[in-house]
């Protein structure tokens, strides 16, 4: 129906009320200052909070910023972090999944029983466990999307039911040690100790970002659309490079590039791509932003919901395997305790809304780093449990207050 353009009244391309950014670096800085003032800062407050936490713990313990400690932190966050990525998907729908700890537990149990007790190949066993988790997610999704049981109740039933199944599968065994140097044992404990690995990954990441940004900007300019100036792309790439190569250097000071970090980062990057750049991701956001509007747009809401619950369960299964790898075994209590709460908290601290339609999978990474940094910092200091709980609570609150205050400025300046 493009012929309807024929009678269009000429409208100036740019609305005169839009405060257009000056070209070049100066404009970039001016815009940053404006954003700072109006509180529109994205992830900056959380990152600042993270830096603050690191600096304070370094000052207190003198050990926080050692290569070994930072490397350990990447190992600790992989398992719960993967679960948290799944939770971001569920939160984007404006729903909750309470079962993910149990799903992680039952998956680790299935994989361990198959490979250790029944001699199934470890890769196959892990694959079967993930498939079981996908089926579990589909079941949750079915009851939620088709029968209409609130997700909270479905996944609460799942929380109970699957941890029961986990106990049942483990049977009288109780604990199954990972096969030494096997696939599961290595997941969270393998390091690419060639220095080239870490630097290579950093280089690929930075180059990938640069190429994508330049190509994107070019195709926008060709289409006559406003595009990011090259100076800004350069600045962002430089920042990314400092971060990436800094991390690579630090990891190489210790044991090298952890496999766990590669997997976790890979999952975050891929899911971020899926959510922001594919029509599936668009559907997830649409359902989270307004179920009825999404339905009227012809989106198969039930299928989107079911698929999201499958994704979250699948990622929880992988997270469970990482947790088993970290502890050295699978047992009846894997995935219980704080695992679920921490994963949800990470997503929320990282900036994903509990009310749907707003968030990104990077928040799982950022939030997990905040939580784990607090825990590890306090562990380094070796304080008693009660005091540790109190401090963790306070620091958690503090880390988010920063973000909230900036958002509040933004809100009072917006429609909200």
């Amino acid at each position: 129906m493009s012929e309807i353009s024929e009678s269009a009244a000429p409208i100036p391309a740019v609305d005169p009320r839009l405060l257009v950014r000056e070209q070049g670096l100066a404009g970039y800085l001016a815009e940053f200052k404006r954003k700072l003032r109006s509180g529109d800062l994205g992830s900056v407050p959380v990152v600042l909070g993270l830096i603050l936490i690191a600096v304070v713990f370094q000052a207190i313990t003198g050990k926080f910023l050692t290569a070994g400690n930072l490397s350990n932190i990447t190992l600790y966050i992989a398992g719960p972090g993967l679960i948290s990525v799944g939770i971001v998907f569920v939160l984007l729908l404006g729903e909750i999944d309470l079962s993910l700890g149990s799903v992680a537990g039952v998956s680790a149990a299935i994989s361990a029983v198959l490979s250790i007790q029944h001699g199934v190949n470890e890769y196959a066993a892990a694959g079967i466990a993930v498939l079981c988790a996908l089926a579990i997610g589909a079941l949750h999704g079915f009851f939620f999307a088709r029968i209409g049981v609130p997700a909270f109740v479905v996944t609460l039933a799942g929380l109970l039911g699957w941890s029961g199944l986990q106990g049942y599968v483990m049977g009288n065994t109780g604990t199954l040690n990972n096969i030494p140097n096997g696939f599961i044992a290595n997941l969270d404990n393998y390091f690419f100790d060639d220095v080239a690995a870490a630097y290579g990954l950093a280089a690929i990441g930075v180059a990938g970002y640069l190429v994508a940004a330049l190509l994107g900007a070019r195709s926008r300019r060709e289409a006559g659309l406003p595009a990011r100036p090259v100076s800004e792309i350069a600045l962002r790439t430089a920042l990314l490079a400092v971060l990436a190569f800094g991390a690579a250097y630090t990891l190489n000071q210790d044991r090298g590039l952890p496999l766990a970090l590669v997997v976790f980062l890979g999952v975050v990057v891929i899911t971020d791509f899926v959510l922001r750049r594919t029509s599936y991701g668009r559907k997830v956001f649409a359902v989270g932003g307004g179920v009825e509007a999404a339905r009227r747009a012809g989106i198969n809401v039930a299928w989107v919901r079911i698929s999201v619950f499958m994704i979250s369960a699948g990622l929880a299964a992988v997270g469970g395997l990482f947790i088993a790898s970290q502890s050295g075994f699978a047992d009846k209590s894997l995935g219980s305790g704080n695992v679920l709460m921490n994963s949800i908290a990470a997503a929320v601290i990282g900036g994903t809304s509990l009310f749907g339609g707003r968030g990104k999978t990077w928040s799982a990474l950022l939030g997990m780093l905040v939580i784990q940094s607090i825990v590890t910092g306090l562990d380094l200091q070796g304080i008693s449990q009660s005091i540790q709980y109190m401090i963790t609570g306070a620091v958690l609150l503090g880390a988010v207050v920063l973000d909230s205050v900036s958002r509040r400025t933004q809100k009072s300046a917006g429609r909200g």
Binding site: N69, N172, G174, L176, S327, F329, S336, V375, T376
Partner: protein, 337 residues
């Protein structure tokens, strides 16, 4: 209804209640205690039955289960309390209704009719001593890391106290001490923090309050390139036995569940029949001024040297449970088949 006021010995209700605290951090409860007690009760009294509930580590849940049993008219209850010091009012109230309570494994406070257990402080002492032994000549100069049980578990405090009794004088220094909350992942991170704080050569042994945490600790140590320093636990879990065989773990504490469970079952049936428990509960324990007839068993340290004579000989595990393909060679070395 619970209106029956007949004395227990008149045999109205032939059910024995069994209340266990949890089933996730230790397999003993549903793999050993429950089946062993059920079998022994059946053997002693064919028309008797056992009603079993598990509290999932929640004291309030356990109280509900206790009350539900009392109001059903059950007259003898074996209680392994989630929170042993908190049961005074439970047992006092039950006693008024003619219900007899046996404190199983943990000494429930209040007027219990009997007590069957291992000595938890003794467990801690044995753990400490085993660690000192594992360090051998270096013990006096060794730095030791302690990863204790949960601060909300009263048993954990006793293990800790017992271990300290030995370690405070037996080793050089406790350089890092934290609660692992009975959670493997937590224990793993605590040991990671200890390595960061003290350096890879900063300690020469790790005390872990149980086997589950010990497994995670050993994994973390290996991941940091620390091999072959003594780490010990408790519970004689099959995987711990395997680690001991492989040389990864130094020792565990074996609490022989069979005599404990069977002794408790015997006492329960005796109480149900109005028979004196003196035959089984030969010892006596002081509990807030009361002398409780007791059966107190001694825990045993298990190392590579005595696996064959303890857990295997007692039939707790079959050799085939332990000697899977990976551990076949180690089994041969330890003369287990």
């Amino acid at each position: 209804g619970g209106s029956s006021s007949n004395s227990a010995s008149s045999g109205g209700n032939k059910t024995i209640g069994l209340l266990l605290p949890e089933n996730s951090s230790s397999i003993r409860y549903e793999s050993f205690d429950k089946p062993l007690i059920e079998a022994k009760v059946k053997a002693l009294c064919s028309e008797c039955s056992v009603q079993y509930n598990n509290a999932n580590n929640d004291a309030a849940t356990q109280k509900q289960q206790f009350d539900t049993m009392v109001s059903q008219g059950i007259k003898v209850i074996l209680l392994d309390a989630v929170n042993a010091p908190g049961t005074t009012s439970w047992i006092t109230d039950a006693q008024k209704k003619g219900v007899k309570v046996i404190a199983y494994d943990r000494l429930a406070s209040g007027p219990v009719s009997a007590y069957v257990s291992f000595d938890n402080e003794k467990v801690g002492e044995l753990q400490g001593q085993a660690l000192v032994d594992a360090l051998g000549a270096n013990a006096k100069s060794a730095n030791v890391v302690m990863i204790n049980g949960s601060e909300t578990d009263p048993n954990a405090a006793q293990f800790k106290a017992g271990a300290h009794k030995v370690l405070d004088t037996g080793v050089g220094k406790i350089v890092y001490e934290q609660s692992g909350e009975w959670q493997p992942t937590v224990a793993s991170q605590k040991i990671g923090a200890a390595i960061t704080a003290l350096g890879k050569n900063g300690f020469q042994a790790v005390y872990s309050a149980n086997d589950g945490m010990a497994a995670a600790i050993i994994t973390a140590l290996k991941a940091n390139g620390i091999n072959n320093i003594p780490v010990g636990g408790q519970d004689a879990a099959p995987d711990a036995i395997q680690r001991i065989l492989a040389g990864d773990q130094a020792y565990t504490i074996y609490k022989a569940y069979k005599p404990e469970a069977e002794g408790a079952a015997t006492i329960a049936v005796d109480l149900l029949n109005g028979v004196s428990v003196g035959g089984t509960a030969t010892a006596s324990t002081d509990s807030a001024g009361l002398n409780i007839p007791s059966l107190l068993l001694t825990p045993v340290v298990v190392t590579k040297a005595n696996i064959k004579d303890t857990v295997i000989a007692d039939g707790m595990y079959k050799a085939s449970d332990i000697c899977t393909a990976q551990y076949a060679d180690a089994c041969k070395d330890a003369k287990i088949q």
